[in-house]
């Protein structure tokens, strides 16, 4: 009854093309934003921040980035882990090289550097498509990790081969390093996520997004209509890598604090983010949120249920958790191949008519 367009007339094209055309959605969105910025900082504690919220926020940024590349532009990439490593190592070099440089600019610059690297590894996409491109980006993944573990300059020749983030502050509050509080870690990740989601939404609703989708749906027709395939594909790689680089930089500086390329940014990270994008829904901003939620929060909730509520031994629960999450992925993909976002759309469609479906 509440959830519908009837009576909510649009009188301009601006109003017609806004992000949340239904009033109920719009207020829901304001509510969530308000809750995230005003209420969450008061109730968040170390456990929740470290186990659930911060990784969720960071992986959502990565999923947003990969979704632009795969979901919007149709270019399959398995190099996400490698690009996250570029963001992490770029931020490390910037932090240690320029100690006075504000951490926010460090992270943004790390994103820009990753964007440049992404464009470089996106060049093969002009010639190859689909699975073959996936293999080419897989090469990027292995090459980048190899580069970061073998070249001393990247980890400042530290004997362990690890990189660790020194303490940096924003407005006087430490956000990286061991002294960072849960609230400040949470808030900086949240700010980056909201900014990235807003940028992603803007880019995908306009000409840029339409060019990407045109390339995805039918590249030959797109070219004949006037889409420059070179520009469209490389810009998708650049924007996608920018987001992924920011996620990598945040993951290292804010969340992990110390990292080693092969371990923190291995091929499993590439697949994790890829699964988020596929389960969440290709070509949907909401899908990135849903996919990251499913794969980050899902296992933690399962563990809470099995270990803390049912009292099962931890090792058994850990194995079961992997199996259950795997099974859930399968069930999801069979029931709704287009991901949680499509499921969400169907629910909204039904809600619009409820309770009088005729």
């Amino acid at each position: 009854m509440l959830y519908r367009e009837a009576g909510d007339y649009k009188t301009s094209y601006v109003a017609d093309s806004q992000t949340f055309p239904i009033k109920f959605d719009r207020y829901g969105y304001y509510f969530i934003l308000g809750f995230a910025f005003l209420v969450m900082p008061l109730i968040i504690n170390d456990y929740w921040a470290n186990a659930i919220v911060v990784p969720f926020l960071i992986y959502t940024i990565a999923a947003l980035g990969l979704n632009i590349l795969i979901g919007y532009c149709g270019q399959l990439s398995l190099g996400t882990g490698g690009f996250m490593a570029v963001g992490a190592y770029a931020s490390y070099k910037l932090m240690t090289g320029f100690p006075d440089f504000n951490i926010i600019f460090v992270i943004i610059t790390a994103g820009l550097i990753t964007a440049a690297v992404g464009v470089l590894f996106g060049l093969p996409s002009l010639r190859i498509k689909g699975f073959y491109l996936a293999v080419a980006t897989l090469a990027a993944q292995f090459f980048l990790i190899w580069l970061f573990t073998r070249t001393g300059w990247f980890y400042n020749y530290s004997p362990t081969g690890m990189i660790s983030a020194p303490t940096r502050t924003v407005l006087g509050y430490p956000v990286t390093g061991p002294r960072a509080s849960a609230v400040s870690m949470y808030l900086i990740c949240l700010c980056f996520l909201v900014a990235c989601a807003w940028l992603a939404r803007n880019l995908t609703r306009g000409t840029m997004g339409r060019q990407w989708m045109a390339i995805r749906d039918m590249d030959i027709a797109a070219e004949i209509i006037g889409v420059n395939p070179l520009m469209a594909k490389l810009s998708a790689f650049a924007v996608s890598s920018f987001f992924v680089g920011i996620a990598g930089a945040l993951l290292f500086t804010v969340y992990l604090g110390a990292a080693e390329a092969g371990e923190a940014f291995g091929i499993d990270k590439s697949f994790l983010v890829l699964f988020m994008v596929i389960i969440g829904g290709l070509g949907s901003i909401f899908g990135a949120f849903a996919g990251a939620f499913f794969l980050i929060v899902g296992p933690v909730l399962l563990k809470l249920l099995l270990v803390d509520s049912l009292g099962w031994p931890t090792d058994l629960a850990a194995h079961l958790e992997i199996m259950i999450v795997g099974a859930l992925i399968l069930v999801f993909l069979i029931l709704e191949p287009h991901g949680i976002a499509a499921l969400w759309r169907t629910i909204k469609q039904k809600l619009r008519l409820w309770p009088f479906p005729y």
């Binding site: 609703r205 000409t207 989708m213 995805r216 749906d217 027709a221």
Partner: protein, 281 residues
């Protein structure tokens, strides 16, 4: 110019003529000079020359495999001919990529629909207006000033075309859900959205029923009337071709076997032979 305008057709290349129903046809928009297109050993187009005049409906007909679609692909820059040249708007056109050709004001539809299936009708048509949108990536990313202003202006232009082609009710529908006839119409809308100088239609009526064909004919004539768009048309339905077009090029086995008004072509010996299937020697 007199009433028997057709008689004046061959006078001067830049003067044009007046059709029997009183439309003024301008000078030469595009001239194909001795175009030859080969795929390895196969010669798809053999030394073909013809011209397209501003404002006319020009048809290319011929039996299957005659090279009609290849000809259209040459015009839209998808194939580059090995020999010959294209004079467009008075200048010799250099080798171009298809997206560059599109920017010179040539839009087309495809024989088997090439819409972007994952996008809504509105987005598909908006994609046609790419060249009218100049905001760069950063302006788009923050959606301020130029980007959002352009989006509105172009949306208005697109809505006009949506009204014109009577597809208001499906604006927000994903293209994948539309029936065939409507898809063809959306494809025409996407091509029109570019406001092309020359519109290329590759079998716009293939696989349609009589009613849909009539609609499509009406739209093609209306487009030609209203926007004065020069149209090049490939079509197998002879009734449609003879009714719609001002001049017709007939191709067979990659060669031009006839060129002229529908009446002239209809009485052309070689054309009759090609269509009745007389053995080639």
């Amino acid at each position: 110019m007199n009433e028997q305008g057709e008689a004046m057709r061959d006078t001067d290349a830049n003067e044009g003529y007046v059709t029997a129903d009183g439309r003024k046809i301008g000078g030469v928009a595009m001239e194909m000079k001795n175009i030859t297109l080969r795929f390895g050993g196969v010669v798809a187009i053999k030394d073909i020359s013809f011209d397209i005049r501003w404002g006319e409906v020009r048809a290319i007909i011929g039996p299957n495999g005659a090279g009609k679609s290849s000809m259209l692909n040459v015009i839209s820059g998808f194939y580059n001919p090995q020999e010959g040249e294209i004079i467009y708007k008075g200048y010799r056109r250099p080798r171009m990529r298809p997206y560059q050709v599109a920017r010179t004001g040539i839009a087309r539809t495809f024989q088997n629909i090439a819409l972007f299936e994952g996008m809504s009708v509105l987005d598909n048509i908006m994609t046609g207006r790419l060249h009218h949108m100049k905001a760069n990536m950063f302006q788009q990313a923050i959606w301020w000033g130029k980007a959002s202003r352009e989006e509105q202006e172009n949306r208005e232009a697109v809505e006009k075309i949506i009204d014109f082609l009577e597809i208001q009710h499906i604006r927000k529908t994903p293209v994948a859900r539309l029936p065939y006839g409507l898809k063809k119409r959306v494809e025409l809308a996407r091509a029109l959205a570019a406001e092309p100088s020359i519109l290329l239609l590759d079998e716009p009526m293939a696989g349609m029923n009589v009613e849909e064909k009539e609609d499509m004919c009406r739209f093609i004539l209306d487009v030609n009337d209203e926007f004065n768009t020069t149209t090049v048309l490939i079509e197998h339905d002879m009734g449609v071709v003879m009714d719609l077009s001002d001049r017709v090029v007939v191709m067979d086995y990659g060669k031009k076997i006839g060129d002229g008004t529908p009446d002239e072509v209809r009485n052309n010996e070689e054309v009759i032979k090609a269509y009745l299937g007389v053995a080639h020697d």
